[in-house]
């Protein structure tokens, strides 16, 4: 049973409720999507708080673990990396106290600060202690190393998913069977059995949302881009936390309705779309980038790496095929999709995204803790140069605004647009 303080989760809910109130007070129609998104996320967090209060089973998750499994088995889960991201977004100064706490304990400062944040939060005993942990060998060294420490700090059973570097059928089969083993692990430790019939229903619900989202992604290719880049972040969060729930499907339905209506009336996210930015990175938590870009520059982000999920329907014909589909989600989510394999995974996707979404320029938000990224950036710059793509590489700590401030980053973007894009 979950124990310990849910203080930080409650804090997140409080901050989100406060933001929700402001949005609801704003009479502009456009706030509908953000309001829906916040309601979904608040609901999801409150379920965690309730589960803790009722002493229910809680599982900590690493990136990309399919929420459908937990919906089916009615087990409460908490995505630690998502938690860190949300905390950084919600606190104006970032959640840097967590980082400091982890560093004070000899955790090397060069570890990615997401993991430092999580570990710091655990040490402060304000993240509810789990009964089980699902970790994995993805998406990077810091995640592996960080979860080793997390597992040792909180002595509960841990299941590690082994995620290979490839994406062929052999890999999908393997990850599918890893997923089955993960499910067995959950069954063994919770005493609950996964109901295959129920899984089928949940997977089909998830597939509905996936289909809706596919259409939204298609519509965003239009010029002008009908929706804000901020919606991408929301879509990602809801997909990660709530896929398989009717609430999530409802959100994507709203999202699609909004996108369809706007593209029909040729309405753009900004009054005058001046720049289309391909955000060739994962969403940067602090700095409110999408809104700032739109407001300051009329620069819209039609697509980002976080949001660019390949279509992945779960084949519901058998348990095996469902496990494969659920495992596939890990391979398709964000950093795992791009970072686990050779650099071609990045390059191919980046080029396709740039062409499909008619980018004018690319911004790589270089997170200092992402060593694989920094080892690759020169190759990416070479590609951009060959293809005549204006590209900006930001060097910052995406979870620690003290390293490079929001102002400093904005200044770099200002210069980039002025000198390289809007010549």
């Amino acid at each position: 049973m979950a124990t310990g303080g849910a203080g930080y989760i409650q804090e997140q809910v409080d901050r989100q409720r406060s933001a929700l109130q402001k949005l609801e007070a704003d009479s502009a129609v456009d706030r509908k999507i953000e309001i829906e998104a916040l309601k979904c996320l608040i609901d999801s967090s409150e379920k965690i708080i309730t589960a803790v209060a009722e002493g229910k089973t809680l599982v900590w998750l690493t990136a990309g673990i399919s929420p459908e499994i937990f919906v089916t088995m009615d087990i409460q889960s908490l995505n630690l990396l998502g938690f860190a991201r949300t905390m950084t977004e919600l606190r104006p100064e970032g959640a840097t106290e967590f980082i400091d706490r982890a560093e004070n304990l000899w955790l090397p400062p060069q570890t990615c600060s997401v993991l430092k944040m999580v570990i710091g939060g655990i040490l402060a005993e304000q993240i509810p202690t789990p009964d089980l942990i699902i970790a994995g060998s993805h998406p990077c060294d810091s995640a592996i190393a960080g979860f080793e420490v997390i597992g040792e700090l909180v002595k509960v059973p841990v299941f590690y998913l082994d995620i290979p570097s490839w994406k062929d059928d052999r890999t999908l089969d393997y990850v599918g069977s890893e997923t089955k083993r993960m499910i067995s692990f959950l069954e063994e430790h919770t005493g609950r059995k996964l109901d295959i019939g129920r899984l089928r229903d949940v997977a089909e619900e998830s597939n509905k949302a996936e289909e809706l989202y596919l259409e939204v992604k298609e519509i965003r290719k239009a010029v002008p881009c009908p929706q804000s880049g901020a919606f991408l972040r929301m879509a990602f969060a809801i997909r990660q936390r709530l896929a398989g729930l009717p609430m999530a499907t409802a959100f994507f339905r709203e999202l699609l309705a909004d996108a369809s209506e706007k593209v029909r009336s040729k309405k753009g996210a900004v009054p005058e779309e001046r720049i289309r930015v391909i955000w060739a990175d994962y969403d940067m938590p602090f700095g409110d980038w999408y809104n700032w870009l739109e407001r300051e520059w009329g620069a819209v982000v039609p697509m980002s790496f976080s949001a660019y999920r390949p279509v992945a329907y779960i084949d519901t014909s058998s348990y095996d095929s469902m496990a494969r589909g659920l495992g596939q989600n890990i391979l398709h989510t964000g950093m795992t999709r791009l970072n686990r394999g050779p650099v071609e995974y990045y390059i191919d996707e980046f080029i396709r995204m740039y062409k499909d979404y008619k980018g004018d320029c690319a911004i790589f938000g270089g997170h200092v803790g992402n060593k694989a990224f920094w080892a690759m950036i020169r190759i990416l710059k070479d590609v951009c140069r060959e293809m005549g793509i204006p590209a900006l590489v930001i060097e910052a700590d995406q979870y620690d605004p003290r390293v490079v401030s929001t102002e400093a980053i904005r200044s770099k973007i200002d210069d980039f647009f002025t000198m390289m894009v809007l010549r």
Binding site: D100, E103, N104, L105, W106, R402, S405
Partner: protein
Amino acid sequence: MIIGGCDVGSATGKALIMKNETIIAYAIIASTTKPEETAYKVMDEALRKACLLSLQELGYVVGTGYVRVKIPFANENISEITCHAKGAYWLCPTVRTVIDIGGQDSKVMGIDERGKVRDFTLNDKCAAGTGRFFEAMARTLGVELQELSSLSLQSERPAHITSQCSVFAESEVISLINEGVDIVDIAAGLHMSVAGRLSSQVRSVGLVEDVTVSGGCAKNKGLVKRLEEKLGINIRMLPGDPQIVGALGAALIAEEKLSART
């Protein structure tokens, strides 16, 4: 038994002479470019103060400090970590954490109830958090080193200095000056920043009271105050000059070694 300890770093050289478990003389000088020269010079001064004629009158000498291997008259050398811990414990046996803030490095030693080093951290790769940092910042602000400390004590609202690195901190300070931030607040901010770094080092060794400070920067009241704030405890100041703690520890070890022989 008359014994001696000699602590030579790149900023200062210290020598201390003891007789019958009492300190009879000590000296502190600025280091020259030649370590051997600094060692002889500072030891000569200590000998003079002790009314001793020469090095021969010392039964045993232990050398310490960054250039300990270059102290020609030392019978052996011991690390400054062991020496500072030893010296601090002798001066105050309730001490369990020693923060030594020197000219070019800072170290934290955790000691047990017998005065033995349990754990330590050493920051000798970076000027931030050392005497050199304060010197550089005092220059930037156009004040004397001692003034920097007393100014900082006057602040009610220390400026927030984010840069970990002293190079970047300097440009931050210049920006703050241009923004018209009060010099007392900037001075306090600098002290907070150093205290922050040191407190991280302390926590990684483990904060156990009593906590004390040694080294040149221990004389910086502004720093001590901010450290107390950061750590949430009262610092137990050592009697006498905190700069000689290393040389004292070296002398005490010299005593140990000489006793062991006889």
